[in-house]
């Protein structure tokens, strides 16, 4: 291959390598700027990613839906439609594909189907994960953040824990996790043991 072709190929690849993360930044910034903010009530737990650092996994109150459809498979895409209730997110409905509705939606992943049977008298429910269940934190604060909520779960000092999520056209950005009206990072700082 001639040197000039190699150089052109490298320049194209370099641009693609910059374009991919830049495009990620741009789409997330658009959602933060123009998307509608919702508060999702949640509880954090603390795992680890080998390359991207510590994060807390968020377990949302919105995590299952009563359904008659028994064909759901683990790993299926779940279109979760959200409505606004005084700023807090409320589950409207779920669907296997995009449907016409004037509420916002996000795409989650099906976990398991809790079927109604001889032993389980409750109606069949689909359990799912919301797509914004990771909140990356400073490695020194992720574990204290989890502990802060776990140990004080029954404590009246913790009134509400929610994820602040911006949603636009099915894309969501988790902006922050809030405990008692302040960011979880500041909450951990203030409540150091």
């Amino acid at each position: 291959m001639k040197k000039i072709y190699i150089l052109i190929a490298f320049c194209v690849l370099a641009l693609i390598q910059i374009f991919i993360p830049a495009q990620m930044v741009l789409s997330q910034e658009t959602v933060l700027e123009k998307g509608k903010p919702y508060k999702f009530i949640t509880r954090p737990i603390d795992p680890n990613d080998p390359f991207r650092g510590k994060y807390i996994t968020l377990r949302y109150e919105i995590s299952s839906f009563k359904t008659l459809d028994t064909t759901w498979q683990r790993g299926d895409d779940v279109y979760v439609y959200i409505k606004d209730s005084l700023g807090f997110a409320k589950l409207d409905t779920i669907s296997k594909q995009k449907i016409v509705r004037d509420t916002d939606y996000v795409i989650g992943k099906a976990k398991w189907l809790n079927r109604k049977n001889n032993w389980n008298k409750n109606p069949t429910r689909l359990n799912f994960n919301l797509p914004f269940n990771r909140f990356y934190m400073n490695e020194n604060k992720a574990k204290p953040a989890e502990d802060a909520v776990r140990f004080r779960r029954n404590d009246s000092t913790i009134k509400s824990v929610y994820g602040l999520v911006h949603i636009k056209d099915g894309t969501s950005v988790l902006k922050d996790v809030i405990i008692n009206s302040i960011s979880i990072k500041d909450y951990v700082e203030q409540n150091k043991p």
Binding site: K3, A9, V25, R74, N138
Partner: protein, 431 residues
């Protein structure tokens, strides 16, 4: 040249086995051979250094500096990427040596990973580890060809394997098949092929001769869809393909330790056969839960055809006279597998016989070639077979004991006979 070798040459010269002229020629030959050695060493250290710095940057950024603003963190995310691209561009433009190209390529590889990782971190972008690894590796595979870099073949293969395992064996992936892994491996093959064609004596080529088959063995399980015994068949076929690749002239004429295909193919075949020599495997998995999956069948057919073509190539085209029974074990296993659908006793007995024959075959190969390693490998196959039967047959203790004593004696006897034979041959040559 090592000092030991220099001493030997001096000894040969003193005893007038070689003359001064020959000594000079030997010295010139080794001097020219060693000319590129310091450069190679520099490349290795350069690559290790670049990899460590790259990984270090990933770890530093993974700390998550929450005191910085979003803009600052975004700038930091792109900085290593731009620096890496600058160095790669510089080594290409200024036509720097191989060391520069390999080291800067390695740094850029990790810079791409750190950049995507940090952006995901800043915006809490959903997405599991496998999608992150896939984007990362895909963005770096073209670099392999732009830089003609062997280190990047290694890195891309390792990360593709990591992706294949994470995607194919994960909690949410019972129905996921890592097809992208296969595509990435195929994309790396031309550069790997070029390496083993032009520089087959390089240590790096032999590392790749081990790494490619190991990677495929690790990820093949993710291509199975059912929990039926079909996976065993797929693995035996894959090992058949590997063994026959190892028999190709390109690999077979090299030292055995450089031929990862042959060793992995042979060991894999024996281990899978040993597992399937147990009665409960055939009773539990093969008969009661057999579910047909078109995907598994398609892969099995592809592997079967490849192995068949390779047998044809080694025996007919390349006229490799060292035909070994290991080359066609996959074919025998396919026949036994089809019989197992109706009757499990015949395949069970035949697999035990097959293992015994393979053991004897390996002993014969070892004896013919005076190779103690292969000879003892054959004995080890037979011993393993007996140990396995120790657990699931109602043989009397006396008979079992006698079998063990017999095989133990066999170890001594065959090794002793071969040693004697070797001594005799050495004597006759020296005469």
């Amino acid at each position: 040249m090592t000092s030991k070798f220099q001493k030997e040459i001096q000894l040969l010269l003193d005893n007038e086995v070689i003359n001064q002229d020959t000594v000079k020629r030997i010295e010139t030959f080794y001097a020219s051979k060693n000319e590129e050695k310091p450069n190679r060493l520099f490349t290795i250290f350069g690559v290790i250094g670049a990899a460590l710095v790259g990984l270090g940057i990933i770890l530093i950024l993974a700390h998550n500096w929450d005191d910085f603003s979003r803009l600052m963190k975004t700038i930091l995310a792109f900085a290593p990427l731009l620096i890496g691209q600058f160095f790669v561009g510089y080594s290409l433009f200024k036509v720097k040596g191989k060391s520069w190209v390999e080291a800067s390529g390695t740094f850029l590889f990790f810079a791409v990973g750190s950049s995507i990782g940090l952006v995901s971190q800043i915006y809490n972008i959903p997405g599991d580890l496998s999608s992150y690894l896939l984007t990362w590796t895909l963005l770096c595979i073209p670099l392999v060809y732009i830089l003609k870099s062997n280190t990047l073949v290694f890195l891309c293969l390792v990360f593709a394997t990591y992706y294949g395992c994470n995607y194919g064996y994960g909690y949410f992936s019972s129905s996921h098949t890592p097809w992208w892994y296969l595509l990435m491996v195929i994309a790396l093959i031309p550069q790997y092929f070029k390496l083993i064609k032009s520089k087959k004596d390089f240590n790096f080529a032999s590392i790749c001769n081990w790494l490619f088959p190991l990677s495929l063995v690790t990820v093949l399980g993710a291509f199975t869809e059912t929990h039926s015994g079909f996976g065993f068949l797929m693995y035996v076929l894959l090992f058949g393909v590997f063994y026959n690749i190892g028999k190709l002239k390109l690999f077979y004429n090299q030292k055995l330790r450089r031929n990862g295909y042959l060793i992995i193919g042979s060991l894999g075949t024996v281990i899978t056969l040993l597992i399937t020599s147990f009665k409960w495997i055939w009773n539990d998995i093969f008969r009661s839960e057999f579910v047909f999956s078109p995907q598994e069948a398609a892969i099995a057919v592809l592997l079967f055809v490849s192995a068949g073509l390779l047998v044809y190539r080694t025996t007919q085209k390349e006229k490799n006279n060292d035909f070994s029974l290991f080359q066609i074990v996959f074919f025998v296993f396919v026949l036994l597998f089809s019989v197992a659908q109706t009757d499990e006793v015949i395949p069970l007995v035949l697999i035990n016989v097959l293992l015994l024959v393979l053991g004897v075959n390996a002993i014969k190969i070892g004896a013919d070639r005076f190779h103690f390693g292969v000879l003892n490998y054959g004995l080890l196959i037979i011993t393993s077979l007996i140990v396995c039967r120790f657990f699931d047959t109602d043989m009397s203790f006396v008979l079992r004991g006698l079998l063990f004593v017999g095989v133990g004696g066999g170890f001594f006897a065959t090794n002793y006979i071969m040693l004697q034979k070797q001594k005799k041959t050495t004597k006759s040559i020296s005469k």
